[in-house]
Symmetry: C2
Amino acid sequence: MPVNYATPTPDRIHAVAGVRLGVAEAGIRKANRRDLTLIELAAGSTVAGVFTQNRFCAAPVQVCRAHLATGDIRALVINTGIANAGTGEPGLAAANATCAAAARLMDLRAEQVLPFSTGVIMEPLPVDAIRAGLPIAQKALHADGWYDAAHAIMTTDTVAKVASRRIVIGGKSVTVTGISKGAGMIKPNMATMLGFVATDAAVSQPMLERLVKEAADASFNCVTVDGDTSTNDSFILIASGRGEARFDAVTAPGWNEFKAAVIEVARELAQAIVRDGEGATKFIEIAVAGSRTLEEAKAVGYAIAHSPLVKTAFFASDPNLGRILGAIGNAAQLHPALADLDVAKLRLWLGDVLVAENGGRAASYREEDGARVMKPAEIVVRIDLGRGSHAAKVWTCDFSYDYVKINADYRS
Amino acid sequence: MPVNYATPTPDRIHAVAGVRLGVAEAGIRKANRRDLTLIELAAGSTVAGVFTQNRFCAAPVQVCRAHLATGDIRALVINTGIANAGTGEPGLAAANATCAAAARLMDLRAEQVLPFSTGVIMEPLPVDAIRAGLPIAQKALHADGWYDAAHAIMTTDTVAKVASRRIVIGGKSVTVTGISKGAGMIKPNMATMLGFVATDAAVSQPMLERLVKEAADASFNCVTVDGDTSTNDSFILIASGRGEARFDAVTAPGWNEFKAAVIEVARELAQAIVRDGEGATKFIEIAVAGSRTLEEAKAVGYAIAHSPLVKTAFFASDPNLGRILGAIGNAAQLHPALADLDVAKLRLWLGDVLVAENGGRAASYREEDGARVMKPAEIVVRIDLGRGSHAAKVWTCDFSYDYVKINADYRS
């Protein structure tokens, strides 16, 4: 069960002019489940993406990078069940064959198709099943296909993840709608295990490439479930240009409002992944301020967010301050610039309760206050490092029996 | 239950001339358990230590560093129950008061006493209980006290950890005996959560300082349970000089043999901590070769050893190659020099089975072979990065339900 997240009902998901989605049961790894999604983009759409930094990046990621470089993307094919990662040359051939099959069907060139895979690593991708499923997905193409597509890209997810906004900027209507998936192997380095956001605004290619990085840095690149960066992480931003608004430069009127809407959708999708993190019972925001750089703040945030001792204490609703301070003290292992961190200057809050200062427990701290703020399903951990003016947030979840259960059972 | 480790029986533990140990039930956090250990060193002993790199290093670690700098150490006081970490100035005063109490009792200066604490973080150290317990521990001082001391320094450990060797070097008898403790918050950066090794050989101070670093790097600094470097890690090497052998320079006859014996004892103690890792059901050696530097090999080893996904797969005896390759692909996040790692050149073995090469699954690999080598309680993972001639080993354990149980329940 996700922590305070439910899939929006279809009536709350806005279609994006110029984007249609269709799904199929292709039997890629298991029968009788939707495992293939086709997304069709109108001519003239711009598309930008960011991808995993894992050296074992999946074959589809490599193909996506190559095809995005050629421009003029018109279709996306997403399969679950098999990740097509750690598959060597045959894996690349399979990803290319997927693109070729979709291109043939839709009268495109293979380079106009982006392939995405998610599921088990190191197993061969059954291209024949995808070839057979694509015409079914094509027949199902529909502007209101977001809800179904969000379900069809799930793997260990327990809920489908959709976020949607319709706003008016300078008198012009702008729609931003996106879907994402992911629950484990989540510590995106550039983007997460499949996130797709589309807008009907027209956005020039350079502006879209800039925006996809900014949006990823403010959303998917701030969440972690288990610290394991996936081999397949991909975040794609699509601008169909079929709506009323147009953005060609940062000076374009309304650009900041538009950017904020895109980031809001991306952040909602990224946080939904953490809320649905494998075995999660708590959603935790770690807000680090007072650092000398953004990187320092992020390193402290991740040092806390990745500590199994801290995560199990959250699971137990235990205000175990020592483990949090211990994790902060280790952040220099992630980021050497923190080697001169002065712990006497640091302040730590759980919720609204100041728990540590002057290198030890805050004089005003009472254990019952700590216990009170650790109880809810959502907890904010706030740290002021007292050495600068930068800040960052990291979102994570706790570490429960079910995390072990899910990952010891998966594949079996 | 530890993985293939049992405490040696007292008859297999060699006393070290010049070193006596005594324990007491001081009621530091709980009643009726041995929680205070006193170690007395003969005049003329040399002592060297390495300590945690955690910025929140405990008060006793700070006092140890200061006292070691003055030389002429004659006693060690070790308490469990309370770690005296994250305790600010009052914590430092408590550690100094402990030294003063032991010094008064033993007719020493406070600077001749090293304090060590392990247990709950951020709670005040009850110095009165220690003061009351010290005379009892002093009365119990005995050359054969190693077995009892190994028990008295335990916290979440399920077995006491002792290693002992008596060898003859150049016709002279040399004894090396040590104890350690630790099961969680284990990823020593300089040394582990309390390891003490003593020899009766005479070793000059510069040689001992060199040796303690080498021994830590070859033992405690190669193990990890959960990736959380403790606030209290301390590894102490004592040379009483009351035996037959004497080492004043690396050119001293038998130095290499002696060094090997010390490393062997330290490694046995370090591996015992992993075998007794919280919730551990498997002991895993990760041997990385073919790296450009030692640091590259260690980064790959730790990337695997810290991945919750890999550790839960080990718990399930699941030959989940994808998770291991995924973890290797992420090692550049720990060590940026690995950003140009060519995964096509990498080879991976589980036990004696080649499982991955050419960027994918090895052609010869059969799932039943993988399942076979994952079944035993001890598993060797071998990686050849194919880019250099350096190598390193990391020892770790799996991640089980009991890890969550132990850490969600601890403190409660």
